[in-house]
């Protein structure tokens, strides 16, 4: 007979069994027994954030930077509603998280009890799955299921709602070693016939392109993707979520594609004859108007673990449902043994065309400006960190500049909210990345609007001595909103000016950090170097940048990929 443990003990034991080292949370009434158990042990480290949204983003950054499941612990009611933004952020980007939420006692559920919300109901549309544990005998299995579901197939957040009385009751503890779920069996191997078809199509290409997304990062397939791309000598483009999937400094890399993608990537995407899509989902920010996209005819191979991502916005010719690394391995094997070879002359012509597009130099900006150009800050950040930092970002212009100008050679180094576009994501995500990679350089590229959405986390960073470098591109505007208002709303900058900004330097200092204000281009590099020299300190770098700088190229909403606004 196994020992009887309380629900709280069982929950913490389950986390230990799953090898969880670090969780992010905020205590409250419904989770007091859980926090009591956390107090009594030292295997699972708890990071106390200052707002539950940040707990989720931090767990998310932890997961993205480490390929472990991120774990957050929040209380009932407002604890959960505060967490929803973070849960939805992880859901849209398919990040494996387990969220443990407290709930009012089972006998109070449905009675509008203090701090009661229908957590399972509120979170249902933004989780991969969720559970309400109403019987302690199901607690351990449920947590096991949560980790299993979160981390397999197309990953995603899974929430386990535990009523307070369940954390108090006792039951024998056995952590199940294996799980079988008749209703959940993610596909792994791709269909052999489909892979064969894909090979035939791939070698027949005259104007090929490899287009890859977050799926390559999430499934740790970057090496295989690189092998495939080099084997074929085809051009490769990454989505915003896929950056780092293929080395950005490689000559076969043609940049990010999409709304703010490079001219060469978007043109190649539009005019290719064979498109190999890997772990990407043809979303609206990537291919623009699907009707315009289908004006040109091309054959599409689409590899993805989620069948519902295939032929959702764009019809494909050879769908392959499977785990990306498994499919790529098979594909590479077949390609190596294939008697047919790509048409070298055609490929050479295609590369020539791409180089012509490249020569357009679509990311150029005024390098002699006497005002700090935001692009230049990111370029210097890249140089100073030798391209080896973990870079998180918030949402807006700075996010796009970080994506365009920091060359990610490795996966999991670029951490941003691509799907939901959550302002406030950057700093807490950087906290998670720093905790998962204690020795690494971690910088958060942000703006003066985004950073204020989770600014309270400067306190968390102080408590846990997280030496983040906050690169604040301060243009006194919600830059991306301002840009759209300039382009599409007759220069009427409605509510996009950031008035009454705090003195970020003194703000950082008041939390016990270092703040540096940088106002001239020639100071940028030194300031960054100085910041990274302060290895044990969070440094808030407030760069006063050009107010009117815009992100180019730009595919306006509803337009086609080749209809870019260029600088």
């Amino acid at each position: 007979m196994s020992v009887e443990l309380t629900g709280a003990e069982i929950t913490i034991r389950c986390l230990q069994e799953e090898g969880v080292e670090c969780i992010f949370g905020y205590p409250g009434g419904a989770v007091l027994f859980l926090y009591d158990e956390l107090f009594k042990q030292d295997k699972v480290r708890h990071i106390l954030v200052r707002h539950e949204q940040a707990a989720l983003h931090a767990a998310d950054g932890y997961a993205r930077s480490s390929n472990k499941v991120g774990v957050a612990l929040v209380t009932s009611g407002p604890g959960v509603t505060n967490a929803v933004t973070g849960i939805a952020t992880a859901y849209l980007d398919s990040i494996p998280l387990v969220i443990i939420s407290g709930q009012v006692p089972t006998n109070a559920i449905g009675l509008d009890a203090f701090q009661e919300v229908d957590t399972v109901g509120i979170t249902r549309p933004c989780v991969k799955h969720n559970f309400l544990v109403s019987d302690i005998s199901e607690l351990a299995t449920t947590i096991k299921k949560a980790f299993y579901i979160a981390s397999t197939g197309r990953p995603g957040p899974v929430l386990v709602d535990i009523p307070k009385d369940v954390t108090q009751q006792k039951a024998p503890f056995v952590y199940p070693e294996k799980l079988t779920m008749r209703s959940y069996n993610p596909v792994v191997k791709g269909n052999a016939k489909q892979i064969k078809k894909a090979v035939d199509l791939i070698v027949s290409a005259k104007r090929p392109i490899i287009y890859t997304g977050g799926g390559v990062i999430l499934s740790d397939a970057a090496k295989l993707l690189t092998e495939l791309t080099r084997l074929l000598n085809y051009p490769c483009t990454n989505t915003l979520m896929g950056l780092g999937g293929y080395p950005a400094t490689d000559k076969q890399f043609i940049g990010m594609l999409g709304m703010h993608g490079t001219y060469e990537a978007n043109m190649a995407m539009q005019y290719c004859d064979v498109l190999i899509a890997v772990g990407a989902r043809f979303d609206d920010r990537v291919i623009g108007n699907p009707k315009h996209f289908s004006n040109e005819s091309r054959k599409i191979v689409h590899i993805d673990i989620d069948p519902s991502s295939i032929s959702k916005r764009v019809k494909v010719d050879v769908p392959i449902v499977g785990n990306v690394p498994d499919v790529l391995k098979e594909l590479i094997k077949l390609l190596k043994n294939s008697k047919e070879e790509p048409d070298k002359t055609a490929l050479q012509e295609w590369w020539h065309q791409i180089d012509t597009w490249r020569a357009r130099d679509c990311l150029k900006y005024d390098r002699d400006s006497s005002i700090i150009k935001p692009q230049m800050v990111v370029e210097k950040l890249y140089e100073v960190t030798k391209g080896d930092a973990f870079i998180t970002s918030d949402v807006g212009q700075h996010q796009m500049w970080a994506a365009q100008f920091y060359k990610f050679d490795k996966p999991r180094r670029w951490i941003n909210s691509g799907g939901l576009g959550t302002m406030g994501f950057g700093m807490p995500a950087a906290m998670g990345a720093q905790l998962a990679n204690p020795k690494a350089k971690v910088a958060c590229v942000t703006g003066e609007a985004s950073i204020q959405m989770c600014i309270q986390e400067l306190s968390t960073c102080k408590q846990y001595k997280l030496p983040l470098k906050i690169v604040n591109l301060n243009n006194r505007y919600m830059g991306m909103v301002r840009q759209w208002q300039e382009f599409f709303h007759g220069n009427r900058y409605s509510e996009s000016y950031m008035d009454a900004l705090p003195d970020f330097i003194r703000l950082a200092e008041s939390y016990g950090h270092v703040g540096i204000k940088i106002e001239r281009p020639e100071e940028v590099e030194d300031a960054l170097k100085e910041a990274f020299k302060l290895k044990d300190q969070l440094v808030f770098l407030d760069f006063i940048t050009d107010q009117t700088e815009n992100v180019f190229p730009m595919v306006p909403g509803g337009k086609g990929l080749s209809e870019m606004i260029l600088v």
Binding site: R124, Y184, S311, K312
Partner: protein, 155 residues
């Protein structure tokens, strides 16, 4: 799908969140009490139905999804309808119920309650044949469907 609390709301939530349309939905436990079977009627282009099927399959509690219209199938719906029945209408309604092979299951001096089973189209046809002004109340279950012949949906 798993016979678990909340499974139905996941299906309903999926349809509303993604803008799909539910024409009708009927659900009850099966001979295996851990499983429920749902028949859901929806309309859409082939592409939309493909997406609906894929999205339903993604729900963790959904064990299997089949499109009954892919093959031969039988579908039936139950309707209870209360009809004002006075004077010469009483005979007329009785005749109509017989023609549609329904039965009158409750009678008062002023009304009949009719039970009718069939395809949704048959139930519609019955209603079309009654003057709308004497239909007092209708309740329909939505269609339940099953494949024809020896073919069995197994999980």
């Amino acid at each position: 799908m798993e016979n678990e609390a909340g499974a139905l709301s996941r299906v309903a939530g999926l349809f509303s969140a993604r803008g799909y349309n539910i024409e009708s939905l009927s659900v009850a436990p099966t001979e295996d009490p851990t499983l429920s079977r749902m028949t859901l009627v929806t309309k859409g282009s082939d592409d939309v139905i493909e997406q609906v099927t894929k999205q339903l399959n993604k729900l963790i509690e959904v064990v299997k999804v089949i499109d009954l219209t892919d093959g031969n199938h039988i579908e039936r719906e139950l309707m209870l309808v209360k009809i004002k029945a006075v004077g010469s209408d009483r005979d007329e309604i009785k005749r109509l119920v017989d023609i549609f092979r329904g039965s009158i299951i409750d009678v008062t001096e002023k009304s009949y309650t009719v039970e009718l089973t069939g395809t949704s189209a048959k139930l519609d046809a019955f209603l079309d044949n009654i003057d709308n002004s004497i239909v007092l109340e209708t309740v329909r279950t939505g269609a339940s469907g099953i494949g024809r012949g020896d073919w069995v949906l197994k999980v």
